[in-house]
């Protein structure tokens, strides 16, 4: 299905000069990784503040827009404390081990027509596999800190990852079945041509797979340890979980991993369920040929990027909203919810989608 669309995936940064092409891609990924999470973080500050009848940051820059930059500078200046009892190498490596996979995920995420670094055939597989590496860094940090609170936090994070990786992958598998490809750009293309059976009304996968969307969203929040699933951090029980002993730039790296994860997960959700950079179902980007998703002019590329970033921001806002509203779940309730509710439901979802694909 749509094999001609899938093969259209050529990155805008593919030049004749291989070295230049790699350089541009690396710089672009780093720029996205260091800028978009800051914007999401600022949005979180403000969205939380206004829901809690307060103003949030107001001093650094107009309306506090530079607050997170100021925070970054502050973190860089702080003393880097390593506890005497800590396993120093593991302790120092842990933030990096958590951060790097977070950056690598961005390599395959399509931010617009042609706006991706690599067009992997197994893009979704790669994103989910690499993304879960971050937990290794969390576990390392929890173990190496030589602190009981950190240890409990690290172990909770590992348990949470094991429990929520399954519903996440099963929900994504249903999308793969429906789209017939693991290529992320291909999934976007498949959604643009997906019609309700017997009509010519174009819908995104969130419509036939609303259940899968809900499962993926919940599991993604749990993977990121965002409230109400923030048991690995649980500041009222575990002080700050695996981050308790970290300070300065290492602490900032853990934080950046969390916000980078929010961005990449939101991007994945919008690619899998919300039509990627498509403005609305059945609406082509201005200046684009064909199905209106690939082969675009400059205007189309910019519009596509804007739409994608808007969707990322919206999904991140939903995560922030949940944080403002809900208390934290308990560890055993979290496990129960995954094994007894989400995994069976995602299997049902997968079965329905597979049967629908064959029968219809």
């Amino acid at each position: 299905m749509n094999s001609e669309l899938i093969s259209l995936g050529e990155s805008l940064a593919d030049f004749d000069n291989f070295g230049l092409s790699v350089l541009v891609k690396v710089l672009a990924i780093l720029a996205v990784f260091f800028v978009v999470p800051l914007v999401v973080g600022y949005m979180e500050h403000k969205a939380m503040a206004h829901q809690q009848s307060r103003l949030g940051p107001m001093e650094a820059g107009p309306h506090g827009t530079l607050q997170l930059v100021a925070d970054g500078i502050k973190f860089a200046q702080k003393e880097d404390i390593i506890p005497t009892a800590a396993d120093k190498w593991v302790f120092a490596m842990a933030p990096g081990v958590a951060l790097v996979p977070g950056i690598l995920v961005f390599a395959v995420i399509p931010f617009g027509p042609g706006l991706w670094a690599i067009d992997l055939e197994l893009g979704l597989f790669y994103a989910l596999a690499i993304g879960s590496f971050s937990t290794l860094g969390v576990l390392m940090g929890g173990w190496a800190s030589a602190n009981k609170f950190s240890l409990i936090g690290g172990i909770r994070a590992a348990a949470q990852l094991i429990a929520y990786e399954l519903p996440l992958i099963l929900a994504a598998a249903a999308v793969v079945v429906q789209a017939g490809t693991m290529n992320l750009a291909g999934i976007v293309g498949a959604q643009a041509t997906f019609m309700i059976e017997g009509t010519s009304i174009n819908v995104w996968y969130v419509f036939p797979q609303a259940l899968g969307f809900a499962i993926f969203f919940i599991a993604a929040m749990a993977e990121l340890a965002r409230p109400p699933f923030d048991m690995p951090i649980a500041d009222s029980e575990l002080v700050f979980g695996y981050m308790t002993e970290y300070s300065g730039i290492k602490f900032a790296m853990f934080l950046l991993t969390e916000y980078g994860g929010m961005v990449s997960m939101s991007a994945l959700i919008s690619v899998l369920y919300l039509g990627g950079w498509q403005i609305a179902p059945g609406v082509a980007l201005p200046g684009c040929a064909g199905a209106g998703l690939f082969d675009c002019g400059a205007l189309g590329v910019v519009m596509g990027l804007g739409v994608m970033l808007g969707k990322i921001m919206f999904l991140s806002f939903l995560m922030v909203w949940a944080r403002v509203t809900y208390p934290r779940l308990r560890e055993d309730q979290l496990q129960k919810m995954s094994w007894l509710v989400l995994i069976p439901l995602s299997l049902v979802n997968l079965a329905i989608v597979a049967v629908g694909k064959v029968v219809l």
Binding site: K148, R323, Y326, R328, L329, R330, D332
Partner: protein, 394 residues
């Protein structure tokens, strides 16, 4: 204690601490595990103060818990022996810093008992008005902090928004925001400022209109219910044995409240509603706390209507001296029963001054509630047995 109401419904069977939780961890029995001792506090976000809890843990399960108190012992009882009675009032609104007005009211009531002093009507109604606003101030703080311990941050900001308004109102009459020192033997220091009752009435309407937010956002929240229902159930008999009072006792279904059972001031002349829970678990304790705010608002409305005119204090000698003898005065503080035992040798300072503070008794029952819980439940239990560490350690 005088007449106690009986619990309305029996405690649900099979909810002894740890009974249901043990099942969920049966799989770990084969491993060779050893217990870990974890010291929560004295500086830890969950203990809001410097309470320390030494826990023996098997994984996430608490095998045993021992509260260690005394990190904030400031020697109030001894200090009071060297202060005259008006200074003692300034002293006592500091041991439980969240219910300053009620503490000094307790001293005033005790002192007037031994002095056999007639307090003007208006002073008594003003004291009741302030005491109820003070109760709401205290409860709002616990509403916010309990939610934050369970991981919900928003109720804290809501609670502080209301607290700010109430503190502003009380400041206009007393001059203080936290430590009011508004009482004096025989009345209150000065009369209410002009327009105070109107402002108080407006604030009453405002707080009442915002109260449903707390019920919806916290009490009605599915995750909040999952975290608190059936967690740390307190047996009424055990609660009485330990001298647990206030919302923690009322959550067990016992409507003991000295405003009703032994009315002081003019509480006999208004309707005092005492909300009670059924199971005595963390949810019921929080439920009672929220309903006590609502009940206090109703009381404030009645007090507004009944407020008489007249003098607010009596002329005092330069130095107040209690006659020789001893007296025990008790009032209903926001957290439970507050009692002051005063022994006087007839001089200007007490010979002995002992406090019976609600937080102290409430904390003692903690080991029974914590045994067999999980670490997250530890926080849910700790926050729901309402206490202020300064009130525990004095």
């Amino acid at each position: 204690m005088s007449d106690l109401a009986t619990p309305q419904e029996a405690i649900r069977p099979g909810t002894a601490p740890g009974e249901d939780i043990a099942l969920e961890f049966r799989g770990t029995a084969d491993f060779d595990t050893s217990e870990m001792t974890l010291s929560i506090g004295p500086a830890h976000p969950a203990t809001h103060g410097v309470l320390r809890i030494v826990m023996d843990m098997d994984g996430e399960r608490v095998v045993d818990a021992r509260p260690v108190i005394g990190y904030m012992h400031r020697g109030f009882e001894k200090l009071a022996e060297h202060r005259d009675y008006r200074q003692i009032m300034a002293l006592t609104n500091r041991h439980d810093w969240l219910s300053g007005f009620n503490n000094e009211l307790g001293v005033a009531v005790t002192l007037e008992k031994i002095l056999q002093m007639e307090v003007p009507d208006r002073a008594q109604w003003i004291r009741m008005l302030m005491a109820e606003w003070g109760r709401i101030l205290n409860h709002l703080m616990f509403v916010g902090s309990y939610a934050i311990e369970l991981g919900a941050i928003t109720p804290m900001f809501y609670a502080f928004r209301e607290r700010e308004d109430i503190q502003h109102l009380m400041e206009s009459a007393t001059g203080g925001r936290l430590h009011f020192t508004y009482n004096q033997p025989g009345g209150v220091k000065i009369d209410l400022p002009k327009g105070f009752l109107r402002q108080s009435d407006e604030l009453l309407k405002l707080v009442r209109s915002r109260l449903p937010d707390y019920f919806d956002l916290v009490l009605g929240n599915e995750i909040f219910q999952a975290r608190t229902v059936g967690i740390g159930p307190l047996d009424p008999a055990l609660a009485l044995r330990y001298g647990v009072t206030g919302p923690t006792l009322q959550a067990c279904g016992i409507a003991e409240d000295s405003r009703v059972t032994e009315p002081y001031l003019k509480y006999g002349e208004i309707d005092v509603e005492v909300p009670v829970g059924r199971n005595g678990d963390a949810f019921d304790r929080f439920y009672v706390l929220l309903h006590r705010i609502r009940a206090s608002l109703d009381m404030i409305e009645q007090i507004h209507d009944a407020m008489p005119s007249g003098p607010v204090n009596v002329k005092l000698p330069k130095m107040v001296k209690a006659p020789e003898g001893h007296v025990y005065g008790r009032i209903e503080n926001p957290l439970g029963q507050l009692g002051y035992y005063l022994q006087s040798s007839g001089s200007k300072t007490p010979w002995r001054f002992k406090m019976r503070t609600p937080s102290f008794s409430n904390v003692q029952v903690l080991p029974h509630l914590l045994r067999g819980t999980l670490v997250p439940d530890m926080v849910a239990v700790l926050g729901s047995v309402f206490f202020v560490v300064g009130d525990v350690d004095r």
